[in-house]
Assembly symmetry: C2
Homo-oligomer: 424 residues x 2
């Protein structure tokens, strides 16, 4: 007996940190109840996935045997040069030429998520701190926890992270002797997941300035997760926070074609301060020594053939209709419920709903049960709050409008309203 | 000045561990001297890359709009079910039904390398020990170093890791109080990279038995890296070490379509003991929550359409010719040089060459300079030795025959012979 017991697998510290992400429970619910209308899942719209654009790019690549062979061969760790050149030109166009950006500062990754991981590995030791909006992207919270690091929530409102609250949090860290452990501010400046907020230009400037000014014990980076940037349905594009980083030493940008083209092709990228080029490529070298070449050739060809812009126009139009359907359904069914509030996002895939103070939207609370009985699924807001800093708001939830049809979105919101009445 | 100095980036411990992999110097040499005949690079043969098979699978996928959309959508963290079903059936066919293997024990990864990383993250804490053949796969040594863990070399011969030497190493670890830190034995049982050895069945059995018997302070796993298994040009396929793991709790298998189909598609997989399913998927969830769906659909369709086997026949024939060319050139040019020895591999992509005792084949040694002057590049053997355990053999080198034509292979080996005469 003793021999068996001692021969057991002893999980590494990292395995223990990474274990038990709450979202898996939610996914189990979804799998067990396939008839539920899921307003939880963050997938993209199935109808507008770019099958013909991808096929056109493939045909173009594979009509030249030399190019086909190159796409099927190994590539380099930082990624396919023509794709990185396209990204460089497009970034310069979107955000002006300053601060200067060189090709070697661009690394291609398996979605923006891998970039977040490689950067976080390069910045964070166990016990280190990342300041995040409260609420923030729950997958990133899992990633930070998986490194044994700590996410600390900063108060945010309908315009995202509040600079004054960020400064207060930094000051508090300093008072507690924790400022040397603060390594990054994580920001989703475009159509935040989950809060659906867009950070206005003056706040972007202020957050970058604060990160620089408080870099007293080592560089505090701003990780700007721009995975949704291209999914804007109203208003004008804003410059990336990196344009306020004149020295080019503070802001890391994570970008992705997953939402804006295809998650199944799964090409993301990072724009890195020079001092992170080596560390991020070292981490990527150990993980996969370069993302699949085929996917990078395919995305480069999509861009070269001018197939991305028409796709973007198509999905913006489709998501815009879905967002309108969700907001109209919310106006119709939720507005009369006391204490139920949301704001109108300019883009992205989510609507964030605040509920009456005492109502727990969590998996074990009354609302979730009622929603499942009614036949609708959402992401409980509590998953999106860092464990420290701003208090967790259990009376909140995230609705996604990416996957469902307008009819199902309306139906789902109506079911949610019934669940709210039942639980309230 | 002080403000600037303290605001610098402080690399994480992981970034420091991962930094300065020696292989990047070698790659820089290759890039700076594109006219060199590289017998160093581990790429696959450009001529036999499966452009038409990949195109046929693509056409088949994309003729059905529903399937095309599914391939372009997100998938699940463990991977595409039909692909995993194919892998399950093929594994059962290759290695018999015992020990039983279930679908949930299979995870699809970005090449076998990502599987090695996810598993190593799940097993190893800083300071932990992996026992490896000396020499072994240098990328894995970098991966282990990147986790702050220690690779310890076990003596090996022309039949790979020597079980008696493994037991001696385990006993030495126990004497030094290090046995609780030994978490895994890393083995490349088929056509090892770099040593080109194949571990015979009795040794496979003995190594698995040793890992079990010495699991006194926690499970010692055997990580069986089978990336080259399909690249056999002589003799009969051997069962995976996992067939000697009757309890199914010891052996982890890493497989890959990178060498056997296309590294640009980059689909690998793992066969996991049940207790590692959760930890490996947790790590993968934080890295990329699933490999690109498109690539998995593509490989599943390649298998379904029966396109893999004809491709394997083609590359086996091509690589077999290249291996013969390399061995014939070695017989012709190297056999007369005193103290230069190699053995004849049954498969894989490499020939391992031992040199006279005092000759340093490293980047700063006389041979490497002479080889570059002659116009040929190899991988210095010293990169392939763990820092601890068996002593580093600087008088060794790895030759790859995957990429070059038979003519270039002959020319490269002749150049190497001239360099050896110049340096010796």
């Amino acid at each position: 007996m003793t021999a068996t017991a001692t021969a057991e697998y002893l999980p590494s510290q990292r395995a223990r940190w990474a274990g038990g992400q709450p979202i898996s429970q939610l996914m189990a619910h979804a799998l067990q109840n396939p008839d539920l209308i899921s307003l939880a899942v963050g997938f993209v719209d199935q109808e507008t996935l770019p099958a013909s654009a991808a096929a056109a790019a493939w045909s173009s690549l594979f009509q030249d045997p030399h190019t086909a062979a190159a796409a099927l061969q190994y590539g380099t760790t930082p990624g396919h040069l023509p794709l990185r050149e396209q990204l460089l030109a497009r970034t310069r166009h979107a955000d002006a030429a300053d601060p200067p950006l060189a090709l070697e500062q661009i690394v291609v990754t398996a979605g923006s998520n891998q970039l977040l991981q490689l950067v976080s590995e390069s910045l964070l030791d166990p016990g280190d701190i990342v300041l995040c909006a409260a609420p923030t992207y729950f997958v990133y919270l899992g990633l930070v926890a998986g490194l044994g690091a700590r996410a600390v929530g900063v108060a945010s409102d309908a315009a995202g992270m509040i600079p004054d609250a960020l400064e207060e949090t930094l000051a508090r860290c300093q008072r507690h002797g924790d400022l040397p452990r603060v390594k990054a501010v994580y920001l989703v400046p475009y159509f935040d997941n989950p809060a659906a907020t867009t950070v206005p230009a003056p706040r972007r400037a202020a957050i970058v300035e604060l990160a620089k000014r408080w870099s007293k014990h080592g560089r505090i980076h701003v990780i700007s997760d721009e995975a949704y940037r291209e999914l804007r349905y109203a208003g004008e594009d804003l410059p990336s926070p990196r344009v306020w980083d004149e020295e080019g030493d503070t802001v890391i940008v994570a970008g992705s074609f997953s939402k804006s083209f295809s998650p199944g092709i799964r090409v993301g990228w990072g724009l890195l301060p020079r001092h992170l080029i080596g560390p991020v490529n070292d981490q990527k070298g150990n993980a996969d020594f370069g993302s699949p070449n085929l996917n990078q050739y395919l995305m480069a060809r999509v861009l070269e053939l001018g197939l991305w812009e028409p796709h973007l126009a198509r999905i913006r139009s489709s998501y815009s209709e879905k967002l309108k359907a969700m907001l109209a359904a919310a106006d119709l069914h939720l507005a009369r419920l006391p204490g139920v509030e949301w704001h109108r996002p300019q883009g992205g895939l989510y609507v964030w709903v605040r509920l009456p103070g005492g109502l727990d939207a969590g998996l074990d609370g009354p609302l979730f049960d009622a929603a499942v009985r009614e036949g609708v699924l959402y992401v409980p807001g509590e998953y999106c709050y860092p464990a420290a800093g701003e208090p967790v708001q259990r009376n909140s939830l995230r609705l996604s409008f990416g996957v469902q049809s307008c009819a199902k979105i309306r139906e789902g919101v109506e079911k949610l309203a019934r669940a709210l009445r039942a639980a309230g």
